[in-house]
């Protein structure tokens, strides 16, 4: 490290590694991981999100989890929460659908209406 | 036997404290013998009385053999307010030693020390390099029993 610019480069990379603790998050993806969610494959869904986000190097997207949401028949359920927009809830998710949601919704900003079960808070 | 330690330090006076730490730590009985003082004196070209002067000034050094485990019970006001007296009595009774002495099996030496800086979890003690907090008499039994098993 010889210059302030070198320091800045390291900082940016390190911030990315610490984003779980940080505030620099544009979109939060919340996977419902109650017992029924897990039984219906929520873990695979979450894993798929993590992989997609990581492969595409989406630094401002956070994948997290929550408990049972009471939508058992629609499990696995996923919320996409974006600052300043209505929450979008997807149901009956699968790893394949995840890939589509990431491309369409997360990257291009168009919610995938086929999978939506509800919107708004 | 001291050569290995000496080789890590240049023979200057300011290394005295570290050399003494290393010698004491490497001795199974955690002390600095007369012979060691002589060796340090030769290596640093300092009179033995200077070395003894330093050695006796700092409370962590010992010129007499000690146990495998050195128990340092904090005697600062916090630990006192939170009941270190009871812990001291417990240690004395369990190990059958008085302060500054070593248990018959040669395992434990009981010492008192100034604040260990873990006051939020008083009373505390340090055994060699490990700190144990929120002590109760039962906990002391557990800790000593575990150390006895290590052998």
């Amino acid at each position: 490290m010889k210059t302030l610019a070198d320091l800045k480069k390291i900082r940016e990379k390190a911030q990315e590694e610490m984003k779980l603790r940080g505030s620099n998050v544009r979109i939060k993806i919340v996977v419902g991981m109650g017992t029924s969610g897990i039984a219906m494959g929520a873990r695979e869904v979450m894993k798929a999100f993590l992989e997609e986000i990581s492969q595409r190097n989406l630094t401002d997207v956070l994948v997290t989890q929550t408990g049972e949401k009471g939508l058992s028949s629609l499990e696995p359920v996923v919320d996409v929460i974006e600052e300043g927009k209505d929450k979008v809830t997807y149901g009956n998710m699968t790893p394949e659908k995840v890939r589509k949601v990431v491309v369409e919704h997360i990257v291009n900003g168009r919610a995938v209406s086929d999978y939506i079960v509800s919107t708004g808070s | 036997m001291y050569q290995e330690i000496f080789s890590k330090y240049t023979p200057t006076r300011d290394n005295l404290i570290y050399i003494l730490h290393d010698i004491q730590d490497s001795h199974p009985q955690h002390y600095i013998s007369e012979e060691a003082v002589q060796a340090v004196s030769d290596y640093l070209s300092l009179p033995a009385n200077h070395i003894y002067g330093v050695l006796t000034f700092y409370s962590m050094y010992s010129t007499t053999p000690r146990g495998k485990y050195i128990i340092r019970l904090c005697e600062s006001p916090h630990c006192y307010i939170r009941g270190s007296e009871n812990i001291l009595r417990k240690l004395k009774n369990t190990l059958n030693v008085s302060i500054g002495n070593t248990s018959k099996d040669g395992l434990f030496t009981l010492e008192l020390c100034a604040c260990l800086g873990v006051c939020g979890n008083a009373p505390v003690m340090m055994i060699n390099d490990d700190v144990y907090g929120d002590l109760t008499e039962d906990k002391v039994d557990d800790i000593l029993a575990k150390l006895r098993e290590v052998k």
Binding site: M1, K2, T3, L4, L7, I10, R11, A14, E17, M18, L20, R21, V25, G32, M33, G34, I38, M46, K47, L50, E51, S54, L62, V63, T64, Q65, T66, G67, E68 | R13, D14, L16, I17, Y18, L20, H21, V54, F57, Y58, S59, M60, Y61, S76, P77, H78, Y80, I81, A114, C115, G117, V118, C119, G120, N121, A122, D129, V131, Y132, G133, D134
Partner: protein, 618 residues
């Protein structure tokens, strides 16, 4: 490829480690390994998070859920419920008085009045990761200074910020630098004083353990300002983890090119070493510390010459406390004006306090200078434990003094505390409830100073011992008329005449308790009474015959067989033989035994008889 979705921050400050944090970490790690979740969950060992009383504590991000008093047995549930199913474990979370869950750190009152500058990263980052420190702005201040500021500008900025030494004396940091900077020499040294020894203060330890790079960066800024190319960390040998962490930080900085020659492409070169003590409180005094680094007995020497003229090996040196250095990077990033907006007229910025004693939330807190003791003890600290009342607070350890409830609304700053007879010191705050005897507390602190006096100057070596003898006399019921006056006089002389800070402040606990609790001293001496029954010679146990059922349990359990009686006559304690162990009171099934806070007449009479006998023998 990073698949991490949870950052698990486990507090591995000394408090939590002593309460078993590492065992919990190992357990969680092994469960995660078994379940194949290790790559999704990042386990980070952080420095002290502050609320030591709740240890072991941990925080789970991204939600920021705060868990307290976690045990190894809880690990399975945490993983299963929270990490897998996303349901935080409520029973391990804090609750307020209305049983409302306080799920995240920012909900907890303990944190709400705190302003973290020095402790900003402590408990939030992995102290062994240089990257995490850099992510939060680390080394940017140093880079800016080296590439854009002259040494004069650097010193000027610190003077303007109003930063004063956090180790005890409160000397303006910028002025200290200015003196050393103007000393001409081929070699100068910067020394970090990590020989924190005040009983009850552990902020330096926490900083060195929890955010070592911050202290190192602060040291490098100071080094640049005074023109030093070499630094020493002098750390107590009782703090092995702090020593390890700072050594590790130095290695990392060297590897990254942040230390060595030509730092940030400038002409500034710097190297640092760690030196340790070997158990001597007086080495916290700067001249004693310097002698200890030189391989001598840690004796203080008279000032002048000040270290800024003739310090380590006779070269100009600046000794700065750990917390002082830790403030520097933020002062330079946010500006002197920002720092000076916090605090009072004479005391700027924030101060870290170690809150301990009979207060609900013990631990490390960082608050703006000028906060009142009431806010610190009752808002941050949560008030007194149990149903006891507040009696006094001891500030500044064995160098400081006791303040009472009438001082709860005074602002905490260097000058105010000094005027009231206490001291900022390094920031130890011991809260005491009304079961504490102030005379014996003062005796205890004095005892500490007598132990730790290095013996070089006679006021401290002999004078303190004289004071202690009087204090022992008073607490054992042998106090005399005139003892209080003698203590005051001796204390004043010792403060005037001692060579270093240890002796100059050691009488404070006694003097301040005489000032505010004189009636307790008088009761001890004149009435042979200790109102709190702490001084065993000045109290006795008594059996209430009206309540006694004559069961004989007390008599059978008494270790010195000083209780006798019968079912009909009830039981009586023979006061002259009683050793005041309290066993009888504990075992009495009908609570017929109580403490009476005064020496029993029989004991008084027998003492006088013995005294007379001794006199006649002579």
């Amino acid at each position: 490829m990073s698949l991490k979705r949870i950052d698990l921050l486990i507090c591995c400050g000394s408090g939590c480690v002593s309460a078993g944090a590492l065992k919990i970490k190992d357990k969680i790690q092994s469960i995660l390994t078994d379940k194949g979740l290790l790559q999704e969950i990042n386990i980070i060992e952080t420095g002290c998070m502050g609320p030591c009383d709740y240890g072991p504590v941990m925080v789970v991000y991204p939600e920021g859920v705060f868990y307290k008093k976690v045990t190894v047995e809880d690990a399975e549930e945490l993983v299963e419920e929270h990490f897998i199913k996303g349901r935080p474990v409520k029973r391990l979370m804090l609750q307020d008085e209305e049983k409302q869950l306080l799920s995240t750190q920012k909900d907890i009152p303990f944190y709400q009045k705190q302003v973290k500058v020095a402790l900003a990263n402590c408990g939030y980052i992995d102290p062994e990761s240089l990257d995490e420190y850099i992510a939060l702005g680390g080394y940017e201040a140093l880079g800016n200074i080296l590439t854009g500021m002259t040494t004069e500008q650097t010193i000027e900025l610190v003077i303007k910020s109003g930063l004063r030494g956090r180790g005890g004396g409160g000397f303006p940091t910028g002025m200290k630098w200015k003196f050393a900077s103007s000393s001409k020499s081929d070699q100068k040294y910067i020394i970090c004083n990590g020989d924190e020894g005040d009983p009850g203060a552990f902020m330096d330890r926490s900083l060195l353990e929890g955010d070592p790079h911050r202290v190192l960066e602060g040291m490098m800024i100071a080094a640049y300002a005074i023109g030093a190319s070499k630094g020493f960390f002098y750390i107590r040998a009782e703090y092995p983890l702090a020593i390890k962490r700072i050594k590790h930080a130095i290695e990392q900085a060297k590897e990254a090119g942040l230390m060595g020659t030509g730092i940030f492409g400038t002409k500034f070169s710097f190297d640092a070493e760690v030196r340790t003590g070997a158990g001597a409180f007086v080495c916290g005094e700067e001249t004693a510390l310097i002698h200890s680094i030189e391989g001598l007995r840690g004796h203080p020497t008279p000032k002048p010459p000040f270290p800024s003229d003739k310090g380590l090996w006779g070269k100009p040196s600046v000794v700065n406390n750990v917390e002082t250095l830790a403030n520097l990077p933020t002062i330079f990033l946010k500006g002197a004006e920002w720092f000076a907006t916090m605090g009072t007229e004479t005391s700027k910025g924030t101060k870290v306090f170690a809150l301990t004693g009979d207060v609900k939330n013990t631990g490390l807190v960082e608050v703006p200078m000028g906060i009142t003791l009431r806010e610190m003890i009752f808002d941050v600290g949560g008030g007194i434990v149990g149903d006891k009342g507040f009696k006094a607070v001891q500030l500044g350890g064995p160098s400081g003094g006791c303040l009472t409830s009438e001082h709860l609304d005074v602002p905490v700053d260097y000058e105010t505390l000094k005027a009231k007879g206490a001291m900022m010191g390094s920031g130890g705050v011991i809260v005491m409830n009304d079961t504490n005897c102030m005379v014996s507390i003062a005796k205890f602190f004095l005892d500490f100073s007598v132990e730790e006096s290095c013996g070089k100057c006679s006021p401290c070596r002999i004078g303190l011992k004289q004071m202690l003898d009087i204090m022992e006399r008073i607490t054992s019921g042998n106090g005399k008329e005139g003892d209080i006056e003698e203590l005051v006089q001796l204390g004043g002389a010792i403060k005037e005449l001692s060579l270093c800070g240890l002796g100059q402040t050691a009488p404070n606990p006694v003097l301040s308790t005489i000032r505010y609790f004189r009636h307790e001293y008088e009761a001890h001496i004149k009435d042979h009474a200790c109102a709190t029954s702490v001084c065993l010679d000045l109290m006795h146990f008594m059996i209430d015959k009206a309540k006694c059922i004559g069961c004989s349990l007390c008599a059978r359990k008494c270790p010195v067989s000083c209780i006798s009686g019968s079912k009909e006559e009830k039981y009586t304690i023979h006061q002259t033989d009683c050793v005041k162990c309290g066993t009888c009171m504990e075992v009495c099934p009908v609570k017929a035994i109580s403490k009476v806070p005064v020496m029993h007449d029989e004991v008084k009479a027998s003492r006088e008889a013995r005294k007379k006998q001794l006199e006649s023998e002579e």
